[in-house]
Symmetry: C2
Subunit: 574 residues, 2 copies
């Protein structure tokens, strides 16, 4: 492809609303154009990268015997009513009515469609297991579209669904997808991707993993143990603590006028925050009834874990009414109004003497010993993990907190969808059973942007050759010179003939501008053809990542460049 | 791929709502599953065919220097308001509101998106011409979804847009697309495709062609001249007639009590229908005002041509009010109420003596000579063409009427979109001008179904090898026999290793069922491995289209089958 024929412009500066590097560079480089919040058109370079990522994914899906199918973008609401998600999913799902008054939705995921396609067809246990996948457009009415292609509303996704007759069989396939995902990231040149345990959220099911590309600009927070490799999304990471018990003391009511915060109490009493039983008040979304969580004074409550423990949606109490009997700022476990559920985080376990509220304006208690003063309580894990917490696997105080972008996820769904949508098969024993499902997703655009975020310098992306829009860029520094142009064009033709993907900058512009654009194109191998080099009988060859800088003689340049491309590609083969 | 692992079932009978062959066979063959009116999921065989068609299209688009890009499915209403189509398109366009209250639409075509992507970028005449295309999902809320994939609401389409600085340049590119389309159909194995002139409809612009696959079940009616190759969609085909003038007669009012139809008049007066000036009454959609069209008694009015002539939407008069002064059944050109526009079709030109209504209950006129009795009138072409009409090109009475499925279209759009959406470039002369556009579409699913409609027998599709889901099917007639299975599996492995696409029927079922399924898969080359053949040291090889039926020795079967596949593929290469 010649640059003169390529639609799109490169810019020196990025718009001010681009806050992260990949977004800036992909706008500056003419990769995409914003049409509405979270909705983009892609120019040719980005489309070419997408196609390469899609092809790598296809090869890896085929390798694990997944079959490519195609589900519709627009689906009838009735299908989503069968699974119950038409009501359980909120305004992220786009809904509309057709000319006949039928309610339709835009697919944001395709579990329902997968069950629709497979049910009635896979009616005998002999037809299991099987995996189907598609690469298709999805729409999710994301309130916080941001970061260019990192968080959008419309996106292309590979989503796969597997069906099984036993949990063991699901686990085998789950592991195959896990391994395929590891290969996909490696082949796409994503360097720092780890799999972390995660919350299943709206997908349902129990076991799930997210594949996280580690980067400071990531939206997700992860707890990682560098000692043993344990990792989990902050949302579900266990918070393990070893407390120093301290001395047993008598329970004593103390006057603390107008001191309502941990900070204030620390100051007034001179006691470490780790010695407080902090109360945090939540309300159930369903009826606004109160729930009180006690957690160690230096820690925070993890709402996802709390929600999972309660099996109900909750939110931090917006207001604490007077008739609730809760004395805000002075809440403690002794003498609370009847009927308010209480949760004790396990960070309080093993501390012999605590400070807490007295449930009375201007008074706290000290010397609280939960076993002695409250009785046997169930300690549950609802605290946010923190840097230096104890690893739940290797038990060292080694937890570090990192940030990551979710570039894929895999879920064990159980029978959530097959049961609600009445998909059955006849088992070996003659009984009708619901198949067990898994589902597996990768967003193409987000992966592209994430690789850019990880592989770039301030001048532009440094695309891995496996997904680069082109493999080689030829820069003709004197397109007005016939001799120079002949060398450049011959090389362009010769490389193209050999199947090398070449971008040829044939414009009559200053070398500085041409190189600035080349940096934004991020093509791995650059060949510079200039009058000076031509006189010396050579072309200048370098790689975008600066690991190669050399000259090839004009006569052998096509051979040598092809060989270099082959060598670079081989690094991404598995 | 092994049939035991393939999701999908084959059926003996088609559902009763399948009225055309391709729909029946593609449902019976497990190609697709209906989810809602005009909305389908595709099983693997159909997805594989789609991908092959898409790849052929990509290659042909690349060959004419079109660049692949990607537009969004969901677009802001504001973009469609710029072009005016947000209001001019009716309920075919799906519309919804996002969580922020913004109005969005689903793309049914992407002229607006193409202009959005290109404007501001292609700002100098030096950057023209260029062509961009995408292959993407579209949604059109079609009221008459029918015929399986022939007329759906959601479909995958290749749509391309070209931009030019002159009409001549557009015409050059238009011709390149035209030629590329011819190659695409040939390479996809569509045999009877012709290009016909067509109405531009909601796309705007003037010159356009539809590519029609000729078949009796086609929804479109075409006028074709077998003598010179002229062809046009019935909607726009000119209706050329050479009238025999007949004798001049005096104008005479005749009593025709209660005779209001041409048929009745023919009977009463014994005059050929060709000697009547038939009146047809229309109303403008905008204000229900009347328009009267006079056409030769044996002909019909073509509403599309009438609409184009008037530049306004019209419909046949639902009711003729008494106060209009129009005397239904007795309408003629002399003595009509003032102010009613009248259109004379050119089928009336050159007839010296006509019968027409007298604009008076129970009376007609005979001997009407329009030039003498009405004066100079403008004759326009608004009649429906008919079998045996005069070809407007070679002037023979050779027009034949055929039916076809539209499998592609190309339009010259002019500046309709670039003007309304304010896309300009700076021309050589320093002036800002609007680029001239062309647009070019092919529906993937419809092309697949059309090829099936054209290439099938009562047992199943006969896929051209260029788009067949697999190139070879191996039928193992005794999968319980180790020796037979070894021959089949070795051949499967050996062919797969050579890059041949093989479907391997490894099921333990009766040969009759296996062959019935094979006919529905429609794979071009069939290899039968049976105990009897194995004993003779051979495999049985035949083609789905019955042109080849032979045996290959087991030892050379991989070579021989590969060679046969290569030979068959070569027929579709250009």
């Amino acid at each position: 492809m010649k640059v003169t024929a390529l639609l799109g412009e490169r810019f020196k500066d990025a718009p001010s609303d681009c806050t992260i590097e990949s977004h800036k560079l992909m706008v500056r480089g003419g990769y995409m154009k914003n049409m509405a919040s979270g909705i983009y058109s892609l120019f040719t370079p980005a489309k070419r990268i997408s196609k390469k990522i899609e092809n790598i994914i296809r090869e890896e899906m085929d390798r694990i015997d997944a079959q490519e199918v195609m589900f519709p973008v627009v689906m009838p609401a009735s299908l989503w009513e069968e699974s119950g998600r038409y009501t359980s999913i909120g305004s992220e799902m786009a809904r509309f009515t057709d000319r006949g008054g039928n309610r339709l939705v835009l697919g944001m995921t395709h579990e329902e469609a997968a069950v629709h396609l497979a049910r009635n067809t896979a009616s005998s246990y002999t037809q299991y297991p099987f995996s189907i996948y598609q690469i298709q457009t999805k729409f999710r009415d994301e309130p916080r579209a941001r970061g260019g292609l990192i968080r959008v509303r419309e996106f292309t996704m590979k989503d796969a669904y597997s069906f099984h007759t036993s949990q063991e069989d699901l686990e085998k396939t789950y592991q195959r997808f896990y391994d395929a995902y590891v290969r996909i990231y490696k082949r796409c040149g994503a360097k720092n991707v780890i799999a972390v345990k995660s919350d299943s959220g709206m997908m349902g099911g129990s076991v799930s993993h997210e594949f996280m590309l580690l980067t400071d600009i990531g939206e997700d927070t992860l707890a990682i143990c560098p000692e043993c490799g344990y990792s989990a999304n902050m949302e579900v990471a266990s918070c393990d603590i070893v407390n120093e018990p301290g001395e047993i003391e008598p329970l004593e009511k103390i006057s603390t006028p107008n001191v309502k915060t941990i900070e204030g109490l620390r100051h007034t009493l001179g006691v470490d925050a780790k010695r407080f039983a902090k109360a945090v008040v939540y309300q159930k979304n369903s009826d606004d009834s109160y729930i009180i969580v006690f957690v160690r004074g230096d820690l925070e409550v993890n709402e996802t874990k709390l929600r999972n423990h309660l099996g109900a949606e909750v939110h931090p109490a917006a207001v604490i009414t007077e008739d609730s009997g809760i004395v805000a700022g002075y809440i403690g476990p002794i003498g609370l109004p009847e009927g308010i559920p209480v949760v004790f985080d396990r960070s309080l376990c093993g501390i012999e003497s605590l400070v807490c509220g007295a449930n009375e304006e201007n008074f706290h208690l000290k010397g609280l010993n939960i076993a002695r003063d409250v009785g046997e309580v169930e300690y549950v894990d609802v605290a946010k993990v923190f840097e230096g917490a104890v690893c739940p696997v290797c038990e060292k105080r080694s937890i570090t907190i990192k940030r990551g972008i979710e570039v894929g996820n895999i879920f064990q769904l159980g029978t959530k969808y097959t049961k609600s949508m009445n998909m059955t098969y006849l088992d070996r024993d003659g009984e009708a059973k619901n198949p067990i499902m898994g589902c597996y997703g990768i967003g193409i655009g987000r992966l592209m942007a994430s690789v850019c975020e990880e592989s770039c310098d301030k001048f532009g992306p440094v695309w891995p050759i496996s997904i680069a829009p082109w493999q080689v860029e030829i820069c003709n520094l004197r397109s007005t010179d016939e001799g120079v142009t002949k060398v450049a064009e011959d090389l362009y033709d010769e490389l193209t003939r050999r199947g090398v993907e070449v971008l040829y900058d044939d414009r009559d512009i200053r070398p500085g501008s041409m190189f600035a654009d080349a940096d934004l194109f991020g093509v791995p191998v650059r060949v510079v053809v200039s009058p000076k080099n031509c006189d010396a009988g050579v072309v200048e060859v370098s790689t975008r990542d600066k690991t190669v800088k050399t000259e090839y003689s004009i006569g052998s340049a096509a051979d040598d460049v092809s060989a270099l491309v082959k060598e670079l590609l081989s690094k991404y083969e598995i």
